[in-house]
């Protein structure tokens, strides 16, 4: 944690209210996000209990699995979820704009520009917490290899038609969520924690209710009090007054409320199956419906507060102005969305269980590149982030005190102005270190020449840093107007690069070298997970 963040947290403790950790919003927020609040059943992987889902904050749709161990009911839930999520996703697939992409021409091996489609906007799924993102990834994994009756008439427990497709999309969203700075599937706790520092630990910030309590405490209460109440307060029945954001439920809820309700539901269902005649069946169906309603009520009571909290968070985030580079990063998310849309349309198989060597390396490389890009862009967009980089010696800001024109040697001398900057910052400048500033959105580079008058560290005036500007001054002998800082200008240079270079070119998967196990061989159709009878009641 940087000292600036630490200070913000301590101020939050002292003032009883979260402090800004950013002056702009660093993540894209859709005008029309789909919020998803899932709950899971304890003790079993990927067994959904229910969800509150939708795009209208006043009219969420409640989906419930009244008996999570019944595969048919689980499939019904997933099918309903698909009926909500897939139309929302498809809604973004149609509207496209023309774009260009670099591709390698298979004939010539040269890089050529090709005209392609880029979806004009992309869907955004918002879940309450990081555990929610993991849960969607898990759901995606559990669904994408399922076979429908149409795909495979022999399959023992066929999945409803759109369930495998939902699995593929959730897998894609879950994987994209690992990309630094991506906004296709954000967790509300992460979004809020990126923009505010609370007076509690990052661990405690994982609790959405407590986090919000610090950022926007109820009138007349301190964030600390409100957070404590959000975390721990229980009613006379021992139930949490503010249910956790899930997907895991509170054990007290499971044991005291949910388990008896499941039992009543199971009993009602057994009774219905045993009904002797239509009249009796009608009665017992009524009882089953009532039992189901009770469970629906329980699930709603545990998801609705979280649903409201997520929208509350969205309101808070919308009040922040968007950072300058946010849209550029969202465009990458749109590329990612478009790419997956194309793979689905082209009939490609679902994402494999594990990445092959080349895919894994490519993913790691692109995530590292995006991480570096994100860090640079956030600093450029937000003086508070830049302040942290300056404190860390990775950037410096100050006033230009002198500019001396010099020229490069050679046949065609180019301008190499020497600019002296007075700064209070203490950058870690090595010999001939490269530094960069943003000039009209493009990085201009300079070289560290030295400290003037060995003024480094002098208490009154800060340090005088002499830089040689290297580029972005046009082609002429004289630099273009505005391309060289002038005396009295405020400037800010970074030691980190603003744009990221492309990494090494990796082989195609079929050319995987012997050091990495050789080519993975023909892609095999991934089989669905075996079904065990215990899954079914």
């Amino acid at each position: 944690m940087s000292l600036i963040t630490t200070l913000a947290r301590l101020e939050a403790v002292s003032t009883g209210r979260a402090q800004p950790a950013a002056t702009v919003r660093h993540r894209h927020l859709s005008d029309h996000p789909l919020v998803l609040v899932p709950l899971t059943t304890a003790g079993e992987a990927g067994a959904p209990l229910g969800a509150l889902v939708g795009t209208d904050r006043d009219a969420p749709q409640l989906l419930v699995v009244p008996q999570p161990r019944d595969r048919d009911l689980r499939f019904a839930f997933l099918s309903e979820l698909a009926d909500i999520v897939l139309p929302y996703v498809d809604g973004y697939a149609e509207s496209v704009e023309a774009a260009e992409r670099n591709e390698t021409d298979p004939e010539t091996g040269k890089r050529v520009k090709v005209e392609v489609e880029l979806c004009a906007d992309a869907p955004q799924l918002i879940v309450p917490s990081r555990a929610g993102v993991d849960f969607l990834r898990l759901l995606g994994r559990s669904m994408r290899f399922r076979r429908t009756a149409e795909q495979d008439p022999e399959t023992p427990y066929p999945a409803p038609p759109r369930v495998p497709l939902l699995g593929r999309w959730l897998t894609h969203f879950g994987e994209r969520a690992r990309m630094p700075g991506s906004s296709l599937l954000p967790a509300m706790t992460d979004l809020l924690a990126r923009h505010w520092s609370t007076g509690q630990s990052t661990l405690e910030d994982q609790h959405l209710g407590a986090l919000l309590a610090w950022i926007d405490p109820p009138e007349g209460r301190s964030g600390a009090e409100a957070a404590l109440e959000a975390e721990l307060a229980r009613d006379e029945q021992g139930q949490l007054r503010h249910p956790p954001a899930g997907p895991a439920t509170d054990p007290a809820f499971d044991n005291k409320l949910l388990a008896p309700a499941f039992e009543r539901y199971d009993r009602a269902r057994t009774a219905l199956h045993a009904a002797e005649d239509g009249l009796e069946a009608d009665d017992r169906l009524g009882a089953l419906t009532a039992a189901e309603e009770e469970i629906r009520g329980l699930v709603l009571s545990r998801t609705r507060p979280t649903w409201d909290a997520v929208w509350h968070g969205i309101d808070l985030l919308r009040a922040l102005p968007e950072g300058a580079h946010v849209e550029e990063r969202w465009t990458r998310d749109r590329w990612s969305f478009t790419g997956h849309r194309d793979r689905v349309t082209a009939g490609e198989p679902p994402q494999p269980r594990r990445d092959d060597a080349v895919t894994a390396a490519n993913k790691l490389a692109s995530r590292e590149r995006e991480q570096a890009r994100l860090e640079a862009q956030e600093a450029l967009d937000d003086p508070l982030v830049m302040a942290g980089r300056r404190l860390a010696g990775e950037a410096f800001a100050g006033e230009v005190t002198d500019v001396v024109m010099t020229y490069s040697e050679g046949k065609r001398p180019s301008p190499r102005p020497l600019v002296t900057v007075r700064t209070e910052d203490r950058p870690h400048l090595g010999e001939r270190a490269k530094v960069y500033r943003s000039l009209g959105g493009k990085p201009q580079s300079a070289e560290f020449v030295g400290y003037e008058d060995s003024a480094e560290g002098s208490p009154e005036g800060g340090a005088l840093i002499v830089l040689k500007i290297l580029d972005k001054m046009g082609r002429g002998k004289e630099p273009e107007a505005g391309s060289v800082p002038e005396k009295g200008d405020r400037v800010c240079f970074t030691l980190f690069e603003h744009e990221q270079r492309g990494g090494a070119k990796l082989p195609e998967p079929e050319d995987t070298p012997w050091t990495h196990g050789g080519p993975p061989g023909e892609a095999v159709q991934e089989t669905a997970d075996p079904v065990t009878p215990e899954d079914v009641l």
Partner: protein
């Protein structure tokens, strides 16, 4: 009333006094022993665990009940899974041990499953030791829920691993059966870590049994972790190397003897019996220093109490251990803020200097005058450019 303490009282008796008269010692299980490594610097936890104090009851009595609970759904599912793994004389379990740990050995066509029932933990421990000693050479033996004893600060702790397997070569393997899934070959690393630490305790206890035999059988340092495969409840297994966890736990157990030193620092008559008045109990607990950190919330029953105290004292570590790293000798929120505001602290202390620089940079970026720091800075509404300093562009 606590008994009067006489000089030279044995540690056990001293600990019994701390626990309170007629309060039985809470048996330490492997999970609790493994958790010792979660915050080994905490004297409070060391003495309470060492004395066998029931921390759950203590936390409730202090008015800060612990929030640990287990869903009955998880419990049912876990038990069903374990039963399935061990069904049929442990055939599947032994097959997995053979496949994952000992492929060179004869496949386990049939195995001995000795009866380990006996009266009381001591009886079961003796029965287990006997079964281990008498395990037939050259055959597979499965010990279902054996009982092991481990000396913890002078008192025996009784431990019950899910299973121990004796290989044909006479070596022993600890088996841990967990209900979190092994999904496409990998599992939640924090849960695997916890299982490994727990298994390390069993390995240490088994090594004590082995040391009493001649020749001493080898206790394998790779344990078998059995979990449900993917979304099914078919068993899948993975070998886990627990040498690191074993080394750490062994060292922490050895250090537990220092609870004698801790006990000696406590005021005469200190007692942690949950039926004492809350004020007295609080004073008793406060007489042993704790090193609270947010990680305690998931590892210690007393965490909410300690968090309250830590926050009340303004300890910066209530925000996380790492917060202290750059603060040097400053340990409270107000000391740090006062130093950052320039009110206190030696400006030549690099921690103080860095804090002041951080405070300046922060207020500059927020477009606030430095004195605003003392009050609540409003959330800036304007775009970055309007905030006094231009961002780099």
């Amino acid at each position: 009333m606590p008994l009067p303490r006489t000089r030279g009282t044995a540690l056990r008796q001293r600990l019994a006094e701390l626990r309170g008269p007629e309060v039985p010692a809470k048996a330490l299980d492997a999970r609790a022993l493994a958790a010792l490594a979660a915050n080994p610097g905490c004297k409070r936890r060391a003495i309470l665990d060492g004395a066998g104090v029931n921390k759950t009851a203590l936390a409730s009595a202090l008015g800060a009940p612990s929030a640990f609970g287990q869903s009955q759904f998880a419990l049912t599912r876990g038990n069903a899974f374990e039963a399935k793994v061990k069904a049929d004389g442990g055939a599947e379990l032994l097959r997995l041990v053979h496949e994952r740990l000992d492929r060179g050995a004869e496949p386990p066509a049939e195995a001995e499953v000795p009866d380990l029932t006996a009266i009381g933990p001591e009886g079961r421990t003796a029965r287990t030791a006997l079964a281990l000693r008498e395990a037939t050479a050259g055959a597979w033996t499965l010990l279902d829920h054996p009982m092991l004893a481990l000396d913890v600060a002078g008192s025996p702790a009784f431990l019950e691993p899910d299973a121990v397997v004796v290989h044909p070569d006479g070596s022993w393997t600890v088996v841990e059966i967990k209900s979190f899934p092994l999904l496409d070959g990998s599992a939640d690393p924090s849960k695997v870590g916890a299982a490994a630490r727990q298994a390390a305790v069993y390995v240490l206890a088994l090594e004590e049994v082995a040391a009493r035999l001649d020749p001493a059988p080898k206790v394998r340092h790779r344990v078998l972790l059995v979990c449900p495969k993917d979304f099914s409840n078919l068993p899948a297994a993975s070998a886990v190397d627990i040498r690191k966890q074993r080394a750490v736990t062994a060292r922490q157990l050895a250090r537990l003897t220092r609870i004698e030193d801790i006990a000696d620092t406590l005021p005469e008559g200190t007692c942690f019996a949950p039926d004492l008045p809350a004020a007295e109990l609080t004073a008793a607990v406060e007489s042993v220093p704790a090193t609270y950190a947010p990680e305690c919330l998931s590892a210690c029953e007393l965490a909410f109490h300690c968090r309250d105290r830590s926050r009340a004292e303004g300890a910066v570590t209530s925000l996380g251990r790492s917060v202290r790293a750059e603060l040097g000798g400053l340990t409270t929120v107000e000391d740090v803020l006062a130093a950052a505001r320039g009110e206190t602290g030696d400006p030549d202390d690099p921690a103080v200097a860095a804090l002041r620089r951080a405070a300046e940079l922060r207020s500059e970026a927020l477009g606030a005058r430095p004195e605003v720091l003392r009050r609540r800075p409003e959330t800036p509404e304007g775009p970055a450019e309007a905030l006094g300093v231009s961002a780099c562009r």
